[in-house]
């Protein structure tokens, strides 16, 4: 059970450790000679034009909302995929259960599409 996740935990530790160590090391070892040009967001690049904290368009918000809804749909697919093979031996309605669920959501997708919520106007 939980012991099976031990390798993942090791990877997690290694990844976190590597990031941490490399950040610390550059902080300690790296020489620090600064000048205004070097501190610009893009050194030797285009000069910054304005504040980066501009107001985002409401369109991002709609996309994010749609993303959440379809994300939740995907979450339902996960346990379905896990039990699918075993349940097939009881008949095919494990398949149709998901078909009905998805059909209603695909209808929603068509609705979103048809109303132009996916266009960037």
């Amino acid at each position: 059970m939980i012991e099976n996740y031990f390798p993942i935990f090791i990877v997690f530790i290694v990844a976190a450790g590597f990031t941490f160590v490399s950040l610390i090391m550059t902080h300690i070892l790296g020489p620090r000679i600064t000048n205004p040009v070097k501190l610009m967001p893009y050194e030797s690049g285009v000069d910054p034009l304005a504040e980066t904290r501009i107001r985002f368009s409401i369109r991002f918000f709609i996309i994010a909302l749609l993303f959440i809804i379809f994300d939740i749909e995907i979450i339902f697919l996960y346990p379905w995929a896990v039990v699918f093979k075993d349940f097939l031996s009881f008949g095919s309605f494990i398949f149709f259960e998901m078909v009905i669920f998805l059909a209603i959501l695909v209808f929603g997708y068509v609705y979103v599409w048809r109303n132009g919520a996916l266009d960037w106007e």
Partner: protein, 166 residues
């Protein structure tokens, strides 16, 4: 016990990052700390062998909902100079009081009322996702299908209310 050590590690990060979410005056940083909080919560769920909840925490909360939070923060457009104002004194006192009250309420229940809560009865070797799938597609079939209607209504509401031109 290394597992309990891991729990305290995750719990510490969760509480610490949650406090930073509240105390940070820049909403974007708060959102980032919230992501950290979600990840440590997912780790705690994993330690409790609630694998599906752990996946859900990362998929839905750290993934989708945080994106939404960030977009909202950027939609509101709080510049560096217009960062959130300090709380008023009485708000601070009030929130502190509520926190203490809540803390004592919870401890009281744990000490006095106590009593165990029901544990999940089904355990499968392949993990609780299987048990969840089994319940969801047999006993909770109707709620599962109604959930799709719920999501459809949410889609309609989103597009109808937030789209400028439909």
């Amino acid at each position: 016990m290394p597992l309990s050590l891991l729990f305290y590690f995750a719990a510490l990060i969760a509480v610490g990052s949650a406090i930073l979410v509240v105390l940070n005056r820049n909403a974007v940083y708060s959102a980032i700390f919230l992501v950290l909080c979600f990840f440590s919560l997912a780790m705690i769920y994993l330690l409790l062998e609630a694998y599906f909840l752990a996946v859900l925490e990362i998929f839905i909360y750290a993934g989708a909902i945080m994106v939404l939070f960030l977009f909202v923060v950027m939609l509101l457009n709080l510049g560096r100079e217009k960062a959130l104002p300090h709380f008023m004194k009485f708000q601070r006192a009030l929130s502190l009081m509520l926190v203490i009250l809540f803390f004592f309420g919870v401890s009281l229940i744990m000490v006095v009322g106590s009593g165990e809560l029901h544990q999940p009865t089904i355990k499968f070797s392949s993990g609780s996702v299987y048990a969840l799938g089994e319940a969801l597609f047999t006993k909770f079939l109707l709620p599962f299908e109604v959930a799709s209607l719920l999501l459809l209504v949410a889609l309609i509401g989103t597009v109808y209310l937030a789209k400028r031109k439909i």
